[in-house]
């Protein structure tokens, strides 16, 4: 039902990538056709070469890709993702964004946390802004814009307005200019 990718990825290092996928499939009771989807995802993320390598030998980015594939394997309707593109290279990050879009088009839902404002702005239908552990605002991009200065064009600007960090940043920039120039 739910697929979850944590920020800190923990996988079984003693298993190879192939064994890990087989293990996840067996725990979820998946058979046969799942391997076709795994193969497609493995090729998309370019990790075929590591397929028979122990997970312990992989880089953090590759482990992140393995975790993402393991989450998508059973086609869960709901995805819960914590900083999903952290550690991914530009190519893989782009592919993952496309996968997220396809998931939404197929009627799926995604709940994810990110510090990358562009990602949230481009993908999310509803956005919640959390600052120092408190939800400051929640709604569509249009709703959020209405909450601040109408001139705020991007989610980043909305965020800085809502968290009242815009003036602080302007002040810091002034000081930097004086110090560096």
């Amino acid at each position: 039902m739910v697929g979850y990718v944590p920020e800190e990825v923990y996988l079984y290092d003693s298993l190879t990538v192939r064994e890990f996928f087989e293990f996840v499939a067996s725990v979820r009771g998946q058979t046969g056709n799942v391997l076709g989807l795994v193969e497609t995802l493995v090729k998309s993320f370019e990790i075929e070469d590591y397929y028979d390598y122990p997970i312990a030998t992989l880089s953090q980015g590759t482990k992140q890709k393995v975790a993402i594939i393991a989450t998508l394997m059973h086609r869960p309707p709901i995805l819960v993702l914590d900083e999903p593109i952290k550690g991914l290279d530009a190519r893989s990050a782009r592919i993952f964004k496309e996968i997220m879009q396809l998931h939404i088009q197929n009627g799926g839902a995604i709940i994810f946390s990110t510090h990358i404002m562009d990602l949230a702005e481009n993908i999310c239908t509803r956005i919640g802004i959390i600052h120092k552990g408190r939800i400051l605002a929640e709604g569509t991009m249009q709703d959020l814009k209405k909450m601040v200065d109408e001139s705020a064009g991007t989610l980043e600007e909305v965020f800085l307005e809502l968290t009242r960090e815009k003036e602080e940043i302007a002040h810091i920039v002034e000081e930097l200019k004086r110090g560096l120039l």
């Binding site: 039902m1 739910v2 979850y4 944590p6 923990y10 996988l11 079984y12 290092d13 003693s14 298993l15 190879t16 064994e19 293990f23 996840v24 067996s26 725990v27 979820r28 390598y53 122990p54 312990a56 030998t57 059973h74």
Partner: protein, 307 residues
């Protein structure tokens, strides 16, 4: 809810990871290169060999134990009951001791996030997750645990031709194992969690020393016990019998001597009952009760593993 067979199968991978990580930590994770990890990962497929060695060790102890016991049972002279009691106590204690040292390092891994998290995010209920972790824990000991009990039952029965003796000794082993398993788990949960952290090199060193000492002691005991028992058992018995009756009764209360004394008294029913027998019986009942509490506590730790 998945069946127990399925959960046992899933626990195999969890156990494999426990073995892998405990081996890495013992070697010092930071100094190991990718090619070493690959080699180690391949070697893990042969953990069954290690278990066979454990089985051979338990077979050796059971064989030696039954032969010595057979020798003691044919003796007479008034001290045979105490000799049999002391030998059974030594046998049970030695097996419990081996179980402890075979499992303490690997058990320290079971509560680490690296072991628990990967399966906690799969579609498993908390109950299934608890059972998988319990099974993974039991896999650390399975061959030695089942092997030593089964071999004790079989060899003691076959060689001494005394079925009651073999059943009671195997039962004594089971009771001691239940308590030992809880002690290991308690230590792993309370103290040894910190040892799993790679940055605590001093702690890792301590656990290495414990492991090395443990293995050294096992082999020392394997060599010393046959020699000791043959040469010194009569002397030990004489000293015991010469003790003040109060001290003697206090010693009989101490597990597993209480259980062993109770067993020996059952074997030598024809020698009549003594006050030592009453003390041994009462403390054996308490010992059995303690083992039940230990079992419940062990299960309870796994039930609460998600908290």
């Amino acid at each position: 809810m998945r069946g127990l067979r399925e959960l046992w199968k899933i626990s195999e991978k969890v156990y494999r990871e426990i073995v892998f990580r405990s081996t890495l930590y013992q070697r010092g994770i930071t100094s190991i290169q990718a090619k070493d990890i690959e080699k180690l990962s391949k070697q893990l497929k042969y953990t069954g060999m290690y278990k066979i060695l454990m089985l051979i060790m338990s077979a050796f102890y059971a064989l030696f134990g039954s032969l010595t016991l057979q020798d003691l049972l044919t003796k007479s002279g008034g001290t045979e009951l105490v000799q049999v009691a002391f030998f059974i106590a030594a046998y049970i204690l030695m097996n419990g001791f081996i179980l402890f040292f075979l499992g303490i390092v690997q058990s320290s891994m079971i509560f680490t996030p690296e072991i628990y998290y990967p399966i906690s995010i799969l579609d498993l209920s908390w109950e299934e997750l608890s059972r998988i972790m319990l099974f993974a824990y039991l896999r650390i000991f399975d061959v030695y645990l089942i092997g030593s009990i089964a071999l004790t039952l079989a060899l003691f029965g076959f060689i001494t031709k005394n079925v009651i003796l073999s059943i009671l000794t195997a039962l004594g082993l089971s009771i001691t194992y239940m308590i030992t398993l809880w002690i290991i788990l308690y230590l792993a949960k309370t103290y040894l969690y910190k040892f799993a952290s790679p940055e605590l090199s001093a702690s890792r060193l301590i656990i290495k020393i414990i492991a090395v000492l443990g293995y050294a002691l096992i082999f020392a005991v394997a060599y010393l016990i046959p020699t000791s028992l043959i040469n010194y058992l009569p002397g030990i018995i004489d000293t015991f019998l010469a003790l003040d009756p109060v001290i003697k009764h206090i010693l009989i209360v101490v597990p597993p001597l209480n259980y062993a004394y109770f067993t020996a008294q059952i074997i030598y029913l024809d020698q009549g009952f003594s006050s030592e027998f009453i003390v041994a019986t009462v403390s054996t009942a308490l010992y059995m009760g303690l083992s039940m509490i230990a079992l419940r506590k062990t299960l309870s730790i796994f039930k609460k593993i998600n908290h």
